[in-house]
């Protein structure tokens, strides 16, 4: 046997041994101590110390309410759990609190006025004064925020971190630079669960949504030819779409359909060139627009009027256009229903007599007003 063959044999043994060693040390207990959810992580260091990494890559330390303050962490990076009072910027975070069953109990501040809410618990809380309107997200009233005494702020806005630091309020960034994949979207609730000691509720939600996905896969497995789908819109100065790595892109693929922006990678609502959008528009069967009926997307003709460039794309000429209903963005706790509805839109033959609740198919033209003309 020559030197080279011997060497290959030694190296192969070494590599296999190192793999076995690294696999062997992963036991089931340790599996549960670290959980990665997209860019979020939960690392249970000890019974009284859990470290979480938020969407901005900041490490927060969760400790019991009566535990002494750890000396190795800045005070604004320590969150005492279960959190009793929380201020929230995004709709998705509010619906996540609803999934965890703590919404009425802990929510004390939001950045959206009373008349823009569709969630009854929030409307009632605002009416009773328990939940305060903190001002628009771009101009928060920090005096008001301080008065609400939140123990935690859930936000997507990094620029408030220094101010919250001065107020001594810890915050967690709940948005990520890269769009959440389907798994991260389903599991995000598990990221917030340790803040409120609601892990069981989070797991139950994940199982429910996972069940819906399994059902979608079964129903659409033998469905008809895969429709070609695009999700986005052209605005005055920009073209925004959902990238292929976003949960909607993955869902479309899972439901035996072609997502035409599968090659686009990055953040949610990512900006692309108008030519790229129109190129996909030539082939697409279905367009999901970001615009709601409230923002003028009442018909294909109305969408085309808002941006004449859209007029030539196939979904507007001979395909289908779907717009989210206004309450869609506040329905994150119904993720299983939303996923099922999208699958039903893509493959109506697999879901006979399906009643849509979150999206509306746009007619060719706006309905004529009664007894009048347009």
């Amino acid at each position: 046997m020559n030197d080279g063959t011997q060497m290959i044999r030694y190296l192969a043994i070494l590599l296999i041994a190192s793999l076995i060693c690294s696999c062997g040390s992963t036991d089931s207990d340790q599996q549960q101590s670290f959980l990665q959810i997209g860019e979020f992580t939960i690392n249970r260091i000890a019974p009284d110390r859990t470290e979480v990494r938020d969407g901005a890559g900041r490490t927060l330390v969760l400790i019991p309410r009566d535990a002494p303050m750890p000396e190795d962490v800045e005070a604004t990076r320590v969150v005492r759990v279960p959190v009793k009072r929380v201020a929230v910027y995004g709709f998705f975070d509010v619906t996540t609190l609803r999934v965890l069953g703590v919404l009425e109990e802990v929510l004390v501040g939001v950045t959206c006025p009373h008349d823009e809410w569709y969630i009854e618990e929030v409307k009632e809380g605002m009416a009773s004064g328990k939940i305060a309107y903190l001002g628009d997200s771009s101009s928060i009233d920090f005096e008001r925020l301080k008065k609400q005494q939140p123990e935690l702020v859930l936000t997507w806005d990094h620029s408030v971190i220094p101010m919250l630091g001065e107020l001594g309020i810890p915050c967690a960034i709940t948005s990520t630079p890269t769009a959440m994949c389907l798994n991260a979207r389903m599991r995000f609730v598990q990221f917030l669960a340790p803040f409120f000691h609601r892990e069981k509720e989070a797991d139950a939600f994940f199982d429910r949504v996972n069940g819906a996905l399994v059902d979608i896969r079964l129903r659409t497995a033998d469905a008809g030819p895969p429709p070609k789908v695009m999700w986005g819109d052209i605005y005055e100065k920009r073209v925004l779409v959902e990238p292929g790595n976003a949960w909607v892109g993955e869902l479309v693929g899972l439901a035996q359909s072609d997502y035409l922006f599968d090659d686009v990678y990055g953040t949610s609502c990512i900006e692309i060139a108008v030519e790229r959008f129109l190129y996909s528009g030539e082939d697409a069967d279905i367009l999901f627009t970001y615009r709601t009926t409230d923002s003028g997307a009442t018909s294909k003709a109305a969408v085309a009027r808002m941006n004449p460039l859209l007029e030539g794309i196939r979904p507007l000429k001979s395909g289908k256009v779907f717009a989210p209903l206004p309450h869609y963005v506040q329905s994150g706790d119904r993720l299983d229903e939303i996923l099922t509805e999208i699958a039903a839109i893509l493959h109506p033959e697999a879901y006979p007599n399906f009643e849509r609740r979150y999206f509306v198919e746009l007619p060719d033209t706006d309905p004529m007003p009664e007894g009048g003309r347009l």
Binding site: M7, S22, N43, A56, H158, S159, P162, R238, A273
Partner: protein, 278 residues
């Protein structure tokens, strides 16, 4: 006798570790492993990006171990690079020893320049060791966000970083209309204060600021364009590192450059002289 046997075995191992066969096999395996790595990295940046923040040991214990299907190639890479370093060290040391034994055959200058490839090989080992110590021992402050006027203190010091102003360079050309008025070069003006001493610095992407032994890196910023967009409030996200590996790999790079210069001098001068003599 036992000592002799042991010495003999060590000698065999030493020879095998310095073998050129091993070098070729390692290079082929590295190519295969890095190809696997390319596939595993694709669209899984979230798995590997934290390596920069939390260090190698913590990364292996968390992301690495729990995603072995996608990270095994990296563990194998570490093993292969370690073997390559050992192989390079043994091989180079053998050659240096041989050169020293035959030093009487060369003039001092000729001998000096004959060390060029070996200097480069040792430099490579220093660079790789630097990167390893960087990932093992760097003290990293994860994302720190500042808005204009806000400041932060470096740990265990009184040194402060104050974010004065954001003065980006925008894309002005019409060649790529979609990029017009987007930030080409984010420039954050910082005021670094340490007691009575004050220093202004400009932090941009890929140009960190060094202060009190810490490297300050621009991780993210907003806004990304002159007008429009959802994230309009000015902010910078910084990553701050105290990295003992930097000195190693900078020294390694200098050493490598010196070796390269020696090699070129040897190539262009001594070999030319030898050819002319022939």
């Amino acid at each position: 006798m036992a000592v002799l046997i042991m010495m003999r075995r060590l000698f065999i191992i030493w020879n095998k570790l310095g073998s050129i066969h091993l070098t070729v096999i390692l290079c082929l395996l590295l190519a295969v492993d890095l190809t696997c790595g390319y596939v595993c990295l694709n669209r899984r940046t979230t798995l590997f990006a934290p390596l920069n923040d939390i260090g190698l040991a913590a990364w292996i214990d968390t992301y690495g171990r729990y995603n072995l299907a996608y990270t095994a190639w990296f563990f194998i890479l570490l093993g292969l690079l370690t073997l390559l370093c050992v192989n390079t060290f043994v091989c180079t040391t053998d050659h240096v020893a041989a050169l020293m034994r035959t030093r009487a055959l060369f003039s001092f200058h000729r001998l000096f320049f004959k060390f060029a490839p070996h200097v480069m090989h040792y430099a490579l080992i220093v660079i790789l060791s630097g990167y390893l110590s960087s990932y093992l021992f760097a003290q990293v402050l994860d994302t720190r966000t500042l808005v204009p006027g806000a400041s932060m203190t470096l740990p265990d010091t009184k040194a402060r970083i104050n974010f004065e102003d954001f003065d980006p360079v925008y894309y002005r050309s019409d060649r790529l209309p979609a990029f017009r008025d987007r930030v080409l070069r984010p420039r954050a003006r910082l005021l670094l204060t340490d007691g009575d001493r004050r220093r202004a610095a400009v932090l941009t992407a890929n140009r960190p600021v060094n202060f009190k032994g810490y490297g300050i890196f621009l991780k993210d910023f907003a806004p990304k364009e002159k007008e429009g967009g959802m994230d309009r409030r000015i902010r910078i996200d910084m990553s701050i590192r105290k990295d003992p590996g930097v000195r190693f790999y900078m020294a390694g790079m200098l050493l490598f450059t010196a070796g390269l210069v020696m090699y070129l001098v040897e190539w262009f001068f001594f070999r030319k002289v030898k050819k002319e003599a022939l």
